[in-house]
């Protein structure tokens, strides 16, 4: 293939190998949802900050917002991968509970019933148990979705109920106390250079997730499968294997989130996580990831999970009834999906 055809036809330029200079970063950002969601977030902070500068910008408010959101962020990073493949994972909150319970109970069992005074060896085993518990549920989800071809909505609705039920069975329906103090004092409420350790861990998870998605072949296949599963299969991508890994990843991260929540609250709680799945999905979708699959980013998710959190904090500070918060989030969420959908429709009509 060496002959070069004429390079201009009726005004349309043929791409030449010289004019492949990089599109400017600004231009690419402007086209992305990520930019807009970042602007919305900054606007929210600016508005709340302008009204009550004393309360909003104190490190305490900032810190508590960050800490409370970091567990959710870890769930949402896994959810981003899942949703980009055009899947969904409703089980993350229940897997979080299950992993926290198995981890706490293992640590207690290793310490004669109460792990409060246990050392680091026990804590590391606890972490391992949490991650493996999460991985087990993720693997089960992946098997049923990728191998048995049952829709993800149904599979993870099932494991949403089953994982919570299993967690409550093991713990007899009550919270598991006895979390090691060394864990609570370090990962739970400790700080490094003034930044809470939980936040640092969540930031590391998000950074690795972002790199995995944007720079690696794993990430490329994630987009390809969400964009056109059959096309991915026809170019030889192992779609089944990849989807298994994706749900496994979501499960492991839910396990890690369970460990983090347990460290923070110093108890493995079996309640209060019923809507974690929806909060994570909302964050991901607010961050510009498409429910139709094929498009999205971890950076967007980071911004997206902070919008509900900032709204809640803002309403508290301003004295607005906090019950407005879910309503406000719902409006933003529906608007985000509507925006994505109309953009896709415009695109597909060509």
């Amino acid at each position: 293939m060496s002959t070069v055809p004429e390079s201009k036809t009726n005004g349309e330029t043929t791409l030449s190998s010289e004019d492949e200079g990089h599109t400017s970063l600004a231009k690419r950002l402007a086209g992305a949802n990520t930019l807009w969601i970042g602007v919305v977030l900054l606007l929210l902070i600016a508005v709340f900050g302008a009204i009550r500068p004393d309360a909003v910008l104190t490190t305490f408010t900032l810190q508590t917002t960050l800490v409370e959101t970091s567990v959710l962020l870890v769930l949402a990073v896994g959810m981003t991968f899942v949703i980009i493949t055009s899947g969904i994972d409703l089980s993350v909150g229940s897997v979080l509970v299950f992993s926290g319970v198995t981890s706490a109970m293992t640590m207690n069992a290793m310490s004669g019933g109460d792990a409060t005074k246990a050392g680091w060896g026990v804590v590391w085993v606890g972490l391992l148990v949490a991650l493996v518990s999460g991985a087990a549920w993720g693997l089960l989800n992946g098997l049923l979705i990728a191998k048995s071809k049952i829709p993800p909505l149904i599979v993870t609705l099932g494991s949403f109920g089953a994982a919570l039920g299993a967690g409550q069975l093991i713990s007899n329906g009550s919270n598991v106390a006895g979390v090691p103090e060394v864990l609570g004092n370090t990962l739970g409420t400790g700080t490094y250079l003034g930044i809470p350790n939980l936040v640092l861990l969540a930031a590391v998870v998000a950074a690795i997730g972002a790199l995995l998605l944007t720079t690696t072949r794993f990430g490329r296949y994630t987009y390809a499968i969400g964009s056109n599963e059959e096309a991915a299969r026809r170019v030889g991508i192992s779609v089944t294997g990849h989807l298994m890994k994706i749900y496994l990843l979501a499960g492991v991260l839910a396990g890690l989130a369970g460990f983090m929540a347990m460290a923070y609250f110093r108890v493995a709680s079996v309640t209060g996580h019923d809507t974690d799945n929806l909060n994570a999905i909302a964050g991901v979708v607010l961050g510009g990831t498409s429910l139709f699959g094929g498009a999205g980013s971890v950076v967007g998710t980071v911004l997206g999970v902070f919008i509900p959190a900032v709204l809640r904090k803002g309403f508290v500070i301003l004295g607005v009834n906090v019950y407005w918060q879910p309503i406000a989030v719902a409006i933003v969420l529906v608007a985000a999906v509507w925006f994505d959908q109309s953009r896709r429709r415009a695109r597909n009509q060509r």
């Binding site: 293939m1 055809p5 009726n10 190998s17 690696t216 056109n228 026809r234 030889g236 060509r350």
Partner: protein, 254 residues
């Protein structure tokens, strides 16, 4: 003529109760353009899917370079130097043209990063741009998702992808259906150039003048069976249409 590169004998393919192929045979020689024609629903796309590892035939045999071959997956076919432009294109609309060109064959960075799975996006982009340029594929930008391109441009990208990787045979299932006059000529040029490199090109098209202008041979499929074979230069549109509709049959074709 030389030994056939690829020979399908009596392929059968059932989809439930639908018999898409009922003992279809097909032959392709190295370095030729062979057109596969037939009415809508004759089984052309199904045959192509069977010969590119996407579908597994219910019955029949396949010979590749004289040896029996069983294609178990699209990867298997690609490993044998078989590439395909599918009728539905099989591109990922959210990925850009370079990503689609390299889909499943991504280049990785050298060293540790590559071992970690990090892509060499810059190199892929550069080579993709050169490749599109060589084939005369006009794109306003190489950074937009394929979905933002016109239907014809998308088709051109799919064609470019197949010829970039093929070393033995390329199947093109209606590669010119959405193309304008200029782009269509380009694709036909590409087909001839690929053929001149010794690669077999199997062209599926409903455009008879196009088929006649480019083909060395023509095989006709009707109701899932091969019903006629022609030498490209010595046939006419009337003969082809006759064979496709069943008005004309050749005894030795099946």
């Amino acid at each position: 003529m030389s030994e056939p590169l690829l020979e399908a004998r009596e392929l059968v393919k059932h989809y439930g109760s639908v018999e898409a192929l009922r003992g279809a045979s097909f032959t392709a020689y190295p370095g030729e353009v062979v057109s596969l024609i037939g009415d809508n629903g004759a089984g052309k796309s199904t045959l192509v899917k069977c010969l590119s590892g996407v579908e597994r035939p219910t019955g029949g045999t396949l010979l590749f370079e004289g040896e029996p071959l069983e294609l178990t997956s699209p990867t298997d076919a690609r490993d044998h130097g078989i590439e395909t432009v599918f009728q539905d294109l099989a591109v990922a609309p959210d990925l850009d043209p370079a990503a689609n060109l390299y889909l499943g064959r991504e280049l990785r960075k050298p060293g540790v990063l590559g071992w970690l799975g990090v892509l060499d996006k810059h190199e892929m982009r550069k080579r993709a741009a050169e490749h599109f340029y060589r084939l005369g594929v006009s794109l306003q930008s190489i950074d937009v998702p394929i979905a933002a391109l016109s239907g014809g441009q998308r088709q051109s990208v799919a064609v470019a992808r197949s010829v970039a990787w093929a070393s033995k045979i390329v199947f093109m299932d209606e590669p010119t259906a959405a193309l304008g006059v200029v782009q269509r000529e380009r694709v036909l040029d590409v087909i001839k150039r690929v053929r001149d490199e010794g690669i077999a090109v199997v062209l599926i098209s409903h455009n008879m003048p196009e088929v006649l202008s480019v083909s060395d041979r023509i095989e006709v499929l009707r109701l899932g069976r091969r019903v006629a074979r022609f030498k490209g230069p010595d046939t006419s549109v009337e003969e082809l249409v006759g064979a496709m509709t069943g008005a004309l049959t050749q005894e030795d074709a099946a």
